[in-house]
Amino acid sequence: MSPQTTPIADTAQDLELAERLIAPDGTRLNNPDLDPFVADVDPAQLRALHRDMVILRRIDAEGVALQRQGQLGLWAPCNGQEAAQIGTARALDPIDFVFPSYRETGVIYARGAQPGDFVRVWRGEEGAPYDPMQMRVAPLQIIIGAQTLHAVGYAMGIKHEKAPEVAVTYFGDGATSQGDVNEAMVFAASYQAPVVFVCQNNHWAISEPVALQSQYPISGRAPGFGIPSMRVDGNDVLACMAAMRWALAHARAGKGPAFIEAVTYRMGPHTTSDDPTRYRDPEELESWKTRDPIARVESYLRGLGEIDDEQIAAAHADADRMAREMRAECLGMVTREPLAVFDGVYAEPHCGIDRQRDEYTAYLASFEEG
């Protein structure tokens, strides 16, 4: 009854099996599958990706700090997953629609989230940080896997309209165990819906190692549903972008869904409430430090002579500015008035809510009078 927890391959080996364009030491590798998808990516674009990741890491650190200082109820760090998020999200078209989980700070950043948007939900002010319809990103989803079905349904709509868009959904390695994620693959395959599944395999679901969810590579699951998949080094921003371009092109061409497993690592705790020292081998963490996604593209660019200290400093300055704005927005947030608790339950008039609001209004007023 106890799970056989030996993974099919140890984590390092996992990663070696993944598609890759830049080695951990910054060497550019040839990869006939992926190369064509990033042939146009020049050093300027790479620098932009690097800058994105620097900013994202800073946003993430600021989130943690704000939580520690009591300004946020919770924060779910994405430290370590910058390449997986930025690489894939930067491959999207503005018309695509994203259905994320709760850890995709980098994805919503890439989609144009404003500084306050990163904290609004975690501070407990609102249920969604931005206008989902305008940003074309669904609000963060806490129910594990639920959003994958939403993406498929959205893609069914796209297909019906023969529109050129793609729906994209992000989820974790743990999520692959949920019925919903598997049903999403069933529906996506049946309807040949233009949807891309992006699984960030960060090796952990809170305290549970990925081997408890699947002793078989996660990218191996999708083909059994009739969905082509690719396993990519999730700490290689260029490979992530290439893989995502492959998947998007596949879906956009009317060939149906595609699946990407980005093998990466959650460097931080699950959330600020978590204490990974209770369950995680520090050596594992150490080994992943050598695969840092930002350092990797930095060495590559340095090797090309395409990035200098000044450019790097500029990225960090931008990051600091973002963090300052984020903090200022956060501290400046004003909680809605008590009656807001009734706002938006229904789209149309509702006698039950109206009555409760009236009663509660009278109740609040009773303090003023009495």
Partner: protein, 336 residues
Amino acid sequence: MTQLALGKALNAGLRKAMQDDDKVVIMGEDIGKLGGVFRITDGLLDEFGAARVIDTPLAESGIVGTAVGLAYRGYRPVVEIQFDGFVYPAFDQIVSQVAKLHYRTQGRVKMPITIRIPWAGGIGAAEHHSESPEAYFVHTAGLRVIAVSNPQDAYRCLQQVIASDDPVIFFEPKRLYHHKGEVDLDGSLADAPPMGLAHIVRQGTDATILTCGAMVSTALDAASAAEDEGLSLEVIDLRSLSPIDYDTVATAVRRTGRVVVAHEASREAGVAAEVIASITERCFEYLEAAPVRVTGHDVPYPPAKLEKFHLPDLDRILDAVDRVLDRPNSLTGAES
């Protein structure tokens, strides 16, 4: 006016809704070629094509979850759950997504989803085919719940529900699918009474029976039988179970002061409890006797041969009427 069975009225209502708005898509198991196991979607595949009449894989969470995605995309999905007992695999998507997305996004994302559920018992069916799960949805903020009892309401309310920007769980009393009634197919929705209103089906002065779905006709039968004994019973079809039209209900209750609430669902924390608690809150000083519930027992729905001992019938309603009228009844002399 046309004579139509309730099932055919639903079919006509669906067809009308799909004609009126091409964002209406219907989805479910076996709703295409087969026209649904109850034939409620009969002919719609031919008329609207497979892109709008979507036979789905066999997975209720998948059906409702993809309906959410279609709603994001601007569609108005109408989902058929094949039988009442098969809605539970979709419960998470309904409670955590369908019901909450509008609130979560402060109204920026609309969920105009209709979930049609062939509902309740009395047809001698196998397990899980006779459930009355309405209380679960009534207790879920963010949903509306409508239950119809006759062809006219079926035709009209289904269209209203589909046109509503809120998610609605729509209960269809499956044992009445073949029951016929007059339906006005031409009346405009704009002139129709809003879907949220309770309906006083029969006026009466001695006691008020509140009920819904297939039990409305049972209650009417009980009222006719009671008339022979000189009793005047009022019958109200709640129709909207969430929100409940307490204005209509309270006015009636204040008139008679005696209330019976009847439904097929089991009793504990069922909708009748909600109705009685609210009536008591609103009309306490008008109540002449404790309101009484007539419901299914607090047991899982029993095997078909036993269902007649489970489902409230005319006699059980009349016994309850005797209780609220302080007439001799089955519990006379029993301790409470």
